[in-house]
């Protein structure tokens, strides 16, 4: 029994240590996602291709200055998952004199210029952080500001680019928690986009670098939600109910849980 407790305690201690290390290394804002169902809204284009969805959402969030420094900031568009997000630590932005609140705006815009290489995958997003008077704020050195953009469904090999000072600049890009989410720790704000270079992934298309939203070869589903009268949810609920009922019956007629780890 003592042997079992020691094994369990050791495993839990190692697990906790690994969770802390992996959690600290994870991109800021990544949810505690160990599992779950991946259900993405179809990508919404500013200029939708044939069969594509339109009307991408924007975001505008205001947070009060706390203790003389900028607060924790999260702002994201309303799609699921959001097509564009900004996540910032407290104190990430330098405050102009007299600033009382921090206003974050994210909106899809027409591409300001063609990308130098590859093709745009999805929309270009203008991301601004300003005070209540509209004065843009700059990111403080050493502070983490993460920009996350979602590419159209199926695009998994994108790179984030920022357009500022009349030029597109490639950014160090990491995975944002799902294969089609791309994140970067930004040092400046501006216009951001996902660019696919080299061999195009399924959703990126292979068109020229015209700087326009690129169509996916296979149109995204018309709706991510089950429509009224759709029988699929009932099939799902029936199957789950049958599995749960079988498990309950088995549990009722089975034996109690053993206390030995090997059991």
């Amino acid at each position: 029994m003592g042997h079992c407790r020691r094994d369990a305690g050791l495993t839990l201690a190692i697990g906790l240590l690994l969770l802390i290390v992996a959690g600290r290394a994870a991109p800021v804002g990544q949810p505690p996602l160990y599992d779950g169902l991946v259900i993405e809204d179809p990508y919404r284009y500013l200029s939708p291709p044939a069969g594509g969805s339109g009307s991408p959402t924007s975001a505008s969030d205001t947070a009060d200055v706390q203790g003389g420094t900028s607060p924790l900031v999260y702002s994201g568009t309303l799609e699921n998952p959001p097509q564009a997000q900004l996540i910032a630590d407290a104190g990430a932005f330098g405050l102009p004199a007299g600033t009382a609140s921090v206003v974050t705006t994210i909106r899809p815009i027409a591409p300001p210029a063609p990308v130098p290489v590859g093709t745009l995958a999805g929309n270009v997003y203008e991301i601004r952080v300003a005070n209540e008077s509209g004065i843009d704020m700059t990111i403080q050195s050493g502070k983490t500001v993460t920009v996350v953009l979602r590419a159209p469904n199926g695009v998994t090999n994108g790179t984030l680019y920022r357009y500022s000072d009349n030029a597109w600049v490639a950014l160090e890009t990491t995975n944002g928690g799902l294969p089609d989410l791309f994140a970067t720790n930004a040092t400046r704000l501006g216009d951001f986009a996902v660019v696919v270079t080299g061999t195009a992934s399924p959703g990126a298309g292979g068109g020229p670098s015209l700087g326009v939203p690129v169509a996916t070869p296979t149109p995204p589903p018309a709706s991510a939600q089950g429509s009224a009268g759709d029988v699929t949810p009932w099939i799902v609920i029936g199957l789950v109910a049958a599995a749960v009922a079988a498990g309950l019956l088995w549990t009722l007629f089975g034996s109690g849980e053993k206390s030995t780890p090997g059991g």
């Binding site: 994870a26 505690p32 999260y74 699921n80 469904n153 928690g177 991510a224 699929t232 780890p261 059991g263």
Partner: protein
């Protein structure tokens, strides 16, 4: 015949049966994972819900065929599971407080999403922390069982979430295995896993 092959030929039938059982569990898990990834496709809600349901039922079936049988969860196991789930949810929030400001994934409708999330989380625990740890632990020892089940847990999420989640899922796998060892059953890791998954609706 070499000494090694002689030893292998003389291996007890029970040892070989348990090894075959572990291979069946891992092979079945890999096949179900790949099928789920393919079925998830463009990720419409209905596709994902059906793929998740099929995946959960397949894992339960694979575990039952391998000899796993359900048992009544003990109150102690449920309590350990609640504690383990709280750690899984709170730790990332403590490490990255900004996550509190972010909205959850919210892939509506909630009742169906929650039901199938519970099914998938429980099925994964039954197969990995239940059947696999039991099978591998008997033949190769608990450390090997914990490592193998945790690696399998991390790799099975790659088709849906990409390689970036491997470190976090590997760590979560070891933690969930610890809950299994501490409680003696799969109820604790299943409760913890379900809590962590359901929390993604809100955070």
């Amino acid at each position: 015949m070499t000494a090694a092959t002689s030893a292998s030929a003389a291996a007890p039938p029970r040892w070989r049966a348990i090894t075959h059982r572990a291979a069946w569990l891992l092979g079945g898990l890999a096949a179900a994972t790949l099928l789920r990834g393919a079925a998830n496709g463009a990720s419409s809600a209905n596709q994902a819900l059906l793929a998740g349901t099929g995946f959960g039922i397949a894992l339960l079936g694979i575990a039952v065929i391998a000899g796993w049988r359900p048992s009544r969860p003990s109150p102690r196991g449920l309590a350990i599971g609640m504690f383990g789930g709280a750690i899984l949810v709170l730790l990332p929030l403590l490490l990255h407080p900004v996550a509190l400001n972010a909205p959850g994934m919210r892939p509506a409708p909630f009742p169906e999403w929650a039901t199938i999330t519970l099914l998938v989380a429980s099925a994964e625990e039954v197969l990995l922390r239940g059947a696999l740890i039991s099978a591998v632990g008997r033949s190769y020892g608990l450390p090997a069982a914990v490592v193998m089940s945790s690696i399998a847990f991390a790799l099975m999420h790659v088709p849906l979430y990409g390689w970036a989640v491997v470190p976090l899922d590997l760590a979560a796998g070891v933690w969930l295995a610890g809950l299994r060892l501490a409680s003696g059953g799969v109820a604790a890791p299943a409760v913890a896993h379900a809590l962590a998954d359901l929390a993604t609706w809100w955070i």
